[in-house]
């Protein structure tokens, strides 16, 4: 006999309206007679209604995991107790999440999604988030005893736990080359090579704090990599962008010169575009900064060049502790063609993670460490050379010792001569 539903007048109000309702979904599970998760979801709704009433959260962490790994499960135990210090909603007293890494680019067949649902129906709450902000599939709501069997089944299906805590975290990559003409990289390969080479640092958390990889195939950066990743890999190109002049003329003919001038030409951040009298386009490619605007606006006429590669930025993160930071350039351009190229990208990541592990303070992200020690110390620590593409402008303050200026200047000319 299933538990009766708790009265939920507040969250019931989230069932109306045109957007799909997660409350309606939860109620479907709570009314699903005979299913192992039924009572758990009845009590989950009870606790959620309490939060809506008191405007307080009632979950605390703890230690729950799977054999062989030190992270990847988010333990949740209820803190909502009755007068006898017993859980007020006992069937949902344990409500742990398994973070499972999706296929790179988040592609699924209906077959694999149905299999995931079947596992989660047997071992979990029946509630799945596609996806968390971390980039994981969040299988939300397992009792402690069900965490291992659920993981074993997902693991046998070819899926692995993602990161949690002070560890290499689950990465993300855009749809990229699979469907997007603006892709300048093999995003899924970069994503898988980076994350899969650091699984030990993911599954056995021992870093100062989290370290995230994100990969976007072009500077539109649909994965928010610069903003959110400790190491962002952004596809780009260094030769001329491609212009199909016949298609440019078609755009001018259909949209009119004014619209093209107002929406494309004058929106170029470096004034690198000029619309000619014969309705063809001239591009000052040396001053194009690869911002993507004109390519986004005229998808049929303009596209990235052929000499593709990636820009690497490091140090992006969210607010805690010193404030939000964007990643900054550490490699302006890197070719990714041969296996050796890809391996050298992994080596860059390895050097950055080793340096981070060695030098960051506890709970300090890469970006905060760079802020504390200065970019130059970081670059020297991971073996990368300085480049003017790493800055918006040179230093303004004269308070700096420059004893070995001549040697540093000589290095610049040597590097230039070698290039």
């Amino acid at each position: 006999m299933a538990k009766p539903m708790h009265p939920t007048p507040r969250i019931d109000q989230l069932e109306s309206g045109p957007w799909p309702s997660f409350i309606t979904g939860l109620k479907r599970l709570a009314n699903d007679d005979g299913k192992p998760y039924q009572d758990m979801v009845v009590d989950l709704l009870g606790q959620l209604e309490t939060s809506y009433e008191t405007r307080k959260g009632y979950w605390k962490g703890g230690t729950v995991g799977v054999i062989g790994y030190g992270g990847g499960v988010i333990p949740r135990f209820t803190e909502l107790l009755d007068e006898d210090k017993k859980p007020k909603f006992p069937a949902a007293a344990e409500f742990h999440t398994l973070r499972i890494m999706p296929p790179a680019g988040m592609h699924y067949t209906t077959d694999i999604l149905r299999k995931m649902c079947d596992v989660w129906e047997r071992h979990g709450s029946g509630l799945i988030a596609f996806h968390g902000q971390s980039g994981d599939i969040m299988f939300q709501g397992a009792k402690t005893e069900n965490v291992q069997p659920a993981f074993d089944e997902f693991n046998e299906m070819g899926f692995d736990l993602g990161g949690a805590g002070p560890a290499v975290r689950t990465g993300m990559s855009c749809v990229g080359a699979a469907r997007c003409e603006q892709s300048c990289a093999n995003e899924q390969k970069i994503h898988r090579m980076l994350v899969n080479n650091f699984l030990d640092d993911m599954h056995r958390p021992a870093l100062p704090y989290k370290f995230k990889f994100k990969v976007s195939g072009c500077p539109n950066d649909c994965m928010n990599a610069i903003e959110r990743a400790d190491m962002a890999v952004i596809g780009t190109w260094r030769d001329d962008m491609k212009v199909d002049q016949a298609e440019v003329k078609n755009y001018v003919a259909s949209m009119g010169r004014k619209k093209i001038i107002d929406n494309v030409i004058t929106r170029c951040p470096t004034n690198a575009l000029s619309l000619n009298d014969d309705d063809t386009l001239t591009v000052d490619n040396r001053n194009c900064v690869r911002c993507m605007h004109c390519i986004n606006a005229m998808t049929k006429a303009l596209s990235p060049g052929d000499d593709k590669g990636v820009t690497v930025l490091m140090g992006g993160k969210r607010t805690l502790k010193i404030g939000d930071l964007m990643g900054t350039v550490v490699i302006p351009f890197k070719k990714l063609e041969t296996e050796e190229d890809y391996e050298s990208l992994v080596e860059v990541a390895q050097n950055a993670i080793d340096f981070f592990a060695e030098n960051a303070l506890e709970h300090e992200r890469t970006g905060e460490m760079i802020e504390r020690i200065g970019l130059v110390n970081f670059l020297e620590g991971i073996g990368l050379e300085v480049d003017p593409n790493m800055i918006s402008e040179p230093r303004q303050s004269s308070y700096i010792r420059m004893d070995d200026w001549d040697e540093e200047a000589a290095k610049w000319f040597e590097r230039k001569a070698a290039a």
Binding site: R10, Q13, L14, S16, G17, P18, W19, P20, F22, L44, L48, Y52, R55, K56, G57, W59, I67, R76, F95, M101, P102, P103, A104, G105, H107, Y108, T109, L113, G126, L127, I128, A129, G132, D152, G158, F159, D160, C174, A177, R179, C180, N186, H191, R192, L199, N224, E227, R228, K259, P269, V289, H293, R318, L320, K321, I322, G323, D324, L361, H363
Partner: protein, 356 residues
């Protein structure tokens, strides 16, 4: 007793096994795309192959029946291949144009809005909230449900000057990230400390180290080792709460919502930008957060009316200036809008550039 099963450390799965065959075949060989209607993308490969993508909104936290329903639709009307966007929209991949309209109709019948492409207000990036997080000041899925009900028409149309990304965060860590509009918890009172528990629950030196303004110090309280907060220095950020739950920061009355605008992760036109504070003191008012929704709708309506084609929220404000932004949105400008964090003087107007 048999040896325990050890994990297969397989990492990120290879995606081709789950990818639509047209996408596998034309991997890295796409030519251009267009959008035949809101919610539909049409990509053409150099080979001449084509693929149609129908994008629909979901509630993100989905029960297995919702997922199976989406699978049924993908099998019956599509080719059995889907993917998810970073903002939890589902995409159905179709190799045949004739399948587009029937799928859209079926999605509509089942209550899944088709849209979120181009110049729309797409799905809100959000976090876990009261449903699952251990430190939330508010809910996430509920806020998003309430707001997307209000913004539904802007999701299914492409009538904004440019795309609009909205995010929510249930604490000041800001897991929701940067957005054209961000709705984030903002605490207004220092943590309330349960001194009976601190010594047993918290590693005191790491809590002291966590404070961004060095306002926490070790102290003996009622004969027990605990922590105390210099409330004059405290910025009420809540950074001490995750490592030390007895330092309760969430408050039903004093944890408010703040609204930030102009965050943009794209490099298109201008460099990626952070969001800036525009409104605060908004009550955390479940189940539908009407006060927050009203501010967001006012900002969106102003942006929609005043911004030019292709201007994202930040581009628009760069053009019209912040004084005009506050004038047009009728939001109050206060002393709290003037930054005093590190590097803040760079955000001040060191010029005679004034708009009248």
């Amino acid at each position: 007793m048999s040896a325990p099963r050890m994990p297969i450390e397989s990492g990120v799965p290879e995606p081709f096994q789950y990818m639509h065959p047209v996408m596998q075949k034309n991997f890295g060989q796409w030519k251009y795309h267009d959008r035949p209607r809101p919610g539909v993308l049409h990509h053409v490969a150099k080979s001449g192959d084509q693929i149609w993508t129908v994008r629909a909104g979901t509630q993100r936290q989905m029960d297995v029946y919702t997922i199976r329903k989406l699978c049924d639709l993908a099998d019956k009307f599509g080719d059995g291949f889907v993917r998810f966007t970073i903002r939890s929209n589902i995409e159905f991949l179709l190799g045949d144009e004739s399948k587009v309209a029937p799928l859209i109709q079926a999605l509509g019948k089942e209550g899944f809005p088709v849209g979120g492409t181009g110049n729309s207000v797409t799905m809100i990036a959000h976090t876990q909230g009261w449903l699952h997080c251990d430190i939330p000041g508010t809910d996430a899925s509920g806020v998003v449900k309430a707001l997307m009900d209000e913004l539904h028409e802007e999701f299914i149309r492409e009538e904004m000057p440019n795309r609009v990304h909205i995010t929510t965060s249930c604490c000041q860590i800001n897991c929701g990230g940067q957005g054209d509009i961000a709705i984030n918890i903002q605490h207004t009172k220092p943590p309330k400390i349960n001194h009976d528990l601190v010594a047993n629950v918290c590693e005191r030196p790491s809590v002291v180290a966590r404070c961004p303004v060095a306002a926490i110090r070790p102290a003996m309280v009622n004969g027990k080792p605990s922590l105390e907060v210099d409330e004059k220095k405290c910025v009420c950020c809540g950074a001490c709460f995750p490592p030390c739950p007895p330092m309760q920061i969430n408050d039903p009355e004093h944890s408010k919502l703040a609204i930030w605008v102009g965050g943009n992760h794209s490099n298109a036109r201008s460099k990626p930008s952070f969001q800036k504070l525009v409104a605060a003191g908004i009550p955390n008012n479940p189940p539908r957060w009407p006060e927050a929704a009203a501010v967001i709708k006012k900002i969106l309506a102003t942006y929609k009316k005043d911004a030019k084609d292709w201007e994202r929220m930040n581009d628009w404000i760069d053009r019209i200036g912040w004084s005009r932004f506050f004038e047009l949105t009728e939001l109050p400008f206060t002393k709290f809008h003037i930054d005093n964090w590190r590097g803040a003087r760079r955000s001040l107007n060191a010029s005679a550039h004034i708009r009248f």
